[in-house]
């Protein structure tokens, strides 16, 4: 089967540093893949390349077999490649509802209408509220986004991504900087998206239990290179991975204690 998304020798160079180095990766539709790797392994850079925030120095990305080289992030979103950001990236002075409504508006192609009042689009508002309830933010609809807690902002990110309703979801550390009590909520939200079964999800995470719980497959990035790609059990048994990533982490912990 033709993979829905595929990269060929994808590389980017910042000065003398190759942040992503010759990554060949492919992914089937409706699959759940996690990306792991130590800090600085190039995970977020890889996402930025996929979503068009950065241009690769070498290599290409194919969406349903077609090259994305000439598409900006705008086109990629419209073609079904939506992403959330690791550093929370919402519209700070708008209300939570308006944040999500903008995403719905984009998907519904209500872009250039300047004659009707925005409240006349009841369906858009309703859907935005629905998405907010799905991520358990239903009680914060009218709060201003900048006044949300960190965890709530992360939920808002996901609600906006859901509202775009793209086929592929790129989730960049949805639990980054969250308190322990908040993590299960996000886990629940992601699980519910997965269980709907119509989305291809690519997730960057550090929390191994969460990854093992959700993923169909895992890929490991290390120094910008693709170290391994396989089912969770394969990855856990892979010696190189253990040495490079898991091993390294445990060693650090040993030194600390």
């Amino acid at each position: 089967m033709e993979p829905i998304i595929r990269t060929e020798n994808l590389s980017i160079q910042f000065g003398g540093h190759r942040a992503v180095d010759g990554v060949n990766f492919k992914m089937q539709a409706k699959h759940f893949k996690s990306i792991i790797g130590p800090n600085g392994a190039g995970k977020t850079t890889f996402f930025n390349l996929l979503s068009g925030e950065l241009k690769p120095t070498e290599g290409e990305i194919f969406l349903r077999g077609k090259s994305l080289a000439s598409d900006s992030s705008i086109e990629r979103t419209r073609k079904g490649l939506g992403r959330s950001f690791q550093i929370t990236n919402v519209f700070p002075n708008l209300t939570v509802l308006e944040n999500v409504r903008l995403a719905v508006q984009s998907r519904e192609k209500v872009r250039f209408n300047f004659i009707k009042h925005y409240l006349q689009y009841k369906a858009i508002t309703n859907e935005a509220v629905e998405k907010l309830e799905q991520v358990l933010l239903g009680n914060k609809v009218n709060a201003v986004a900048s006044q949300l807690s960190h965890g709530e902002k992360r939920k808002l990110e996901i609600a906006m991504l859901l509202a775009l309703n793209t086929e592929i979801l790129l989730l960049d550390e949805p639990t980054a900087g969250m308190s322990l009590e908040e993590v299960p909520t996000i886990l629940e939200v992601i699980r519910s998206i997965k269980e709907q079964g119509d989305k291809t999800i690519l997730l960057i995470e550090h929390k191994m239990d969460m990854i093992l719980d959700l993923s169909d497959s895992i890929m490991v990035l290390f120094n910008g290179k693709l170290l391994a790609d396989g089912t969770p059990s394969e990855i856990m048994d892979n010696e190189t991975v253990q040495n490079a990533y898991l091993g390294g982490l445990y060693d650090e912990q040993l030194i600390k204690t």
């Binding site: 925030e53 519209f91 998907r107 872009r111 250039f112 009707k116 009042h117 409240l119 689009y121 775009l164």
Partner: protein
């Protein structure tokens, strides 16, 4: 925001102010005051158009005077070339609007790709270019000296002109209010808030910025046309940096990101200018009234960064939320539900 109703407090105040303004020329016995208010309205339209750029889309432009100037020159030139009839005047407004729309489309397309401060510099340069054209194209513009022309006869009656400008202001206000509350307006605000994020939601932000620039330009041209009529004279000062700075000050003092703000700002600045320079007869220091003005401006930016209307609005919101606080315990119920769903 909340649901907007037709009989809301906002609309009632709006209506009262309109009625007060309708009776104003009959109550105020001096012609000077009527003329002053007309001037306030004209600059309100200009400042509102500038606010579409600055307050709603987050674009800082130093070239807004060129649109104002194009409107003023179009009206003046057409009225002096042809008859001074109402018809020609209305045509000149439309011609001016179409011309500025075209110019701001081209300028926007070329410059709005740039980052904010580069864009600001480039607009300064382009409006400088228009100023030079107005100065050197002597056969049409009579250069720096400018020229007088005859306004349509109906406008000889200052009260009629007052009403005409008032209607223009109200129409411009209503049209722009609908513009900024439309889905498109919401995207403009999103561009102001976070352009990169707007792009990643799939909006082509350049298109929106160009549209904002066209709308702002067209409305500025209308105020330019009215300004030319109010003076019955036009020279290169309508293209000068002072006009842009006036619009900028009015918008910031009144309140960025609201449409009422620029109107209040224009009222405050025009009235203050009038009376401060009037004081010069008694106190010579007020010959330099602009010094006081500079100080006032600095104080406003330091203490009321949201401008007059913005500050009042925030005060109103906190007052309202204090009033509704007793009902809040109800809202914490869903939180408990969240926890239950977790477990």
């Amino acid at each position: 925001m909340g649901q907007e109703k037709y009989y809301s407090l906002k609309n009632v105040i709006f209506l009262i102010i309109i009625i007060a303004l309708i009776f104003f020329p009959y109550v105020a016995d001096s012609r000077t005051l009527t003329i002053l208010m007309t001037q306030v309205f004209i600059f309100s339209i200009l400042a509102m158009s500038y606010d579409i750029l600055l307050g709603y889309t987050g674009i800082v432009s130093f070239g807004h005077a060129m649109f104002f100037g194009i409107g003023a020159y179009t009206t003046a030139i057409l009225l002096s070339m042809y008859d001074n009839t109402m018809m020609i005047f209305l045509i000149s407004i439309i011609v001016g609007m179409i011309f500025t729309g075209f110019v701001s489309f081209l300028v926007g397309l070329l410059t709005l790709r740039l980052k904010s401060h580069f864009f600001a510099m480039l607009t300064l340069a382009i409006s400088g270019l228009f100023l030079v054209v107005a100065e050197k194209w002597r056969t049409v513009t009579k250069g720096n000296d400018g020229f007088t022309f005859r306004a349509p006869d109906l406008f000889r009656d200052r009260v009629f002109f007052y009403f005409f400008v008032l209607v223009c202001l109200v129409v411009a206000f209503l049209v722009l209010r609908r513009f900024v509350t439309s889905p498109l307006g919401k995207v403009l605000i999103a561009v102001r808030e976070n352009e990169q994020r707007t792009r990643s939601l799939g909006f082509r932000t350049l298109h929106y910025k160009v549209i904002a620039s066209i709308v702002a330009g067209v409305v500025a041209s209308l105020s330019g046309s009215l300004y030319a009529i109010s003076l019955r004279f036009v020279n290169t000062s309508v293209m000068s940096m002072d006009i842009t700075l006036d619009a900028l000050l009015m918008t910031i003092i009144g309140g960025v990101g609201t449409l009422v703000g620029p109107i209040v700002g224009s009222f405050v600045i025009e009235i203050a200018q009038h009376y401060l320079s009037g004081l010069a007869n008694d106190y010579p220091i007020f010959e330099r009234w602009i010094i006081f003005f500079g100080m006032l401006y600095i104080l406003v930016v330091i203490f009321f960064p949201k401008g007059i209307v913005g500050t009042v609005y925030v005060k109103y919101l906190t007052w309202k939320s204090k009033k509704s606080r007793p009902q809040q315990p109800k809202q914490s119920v869903p939180l408990v539900k969240d926890k239950e769903r977790l477990e």
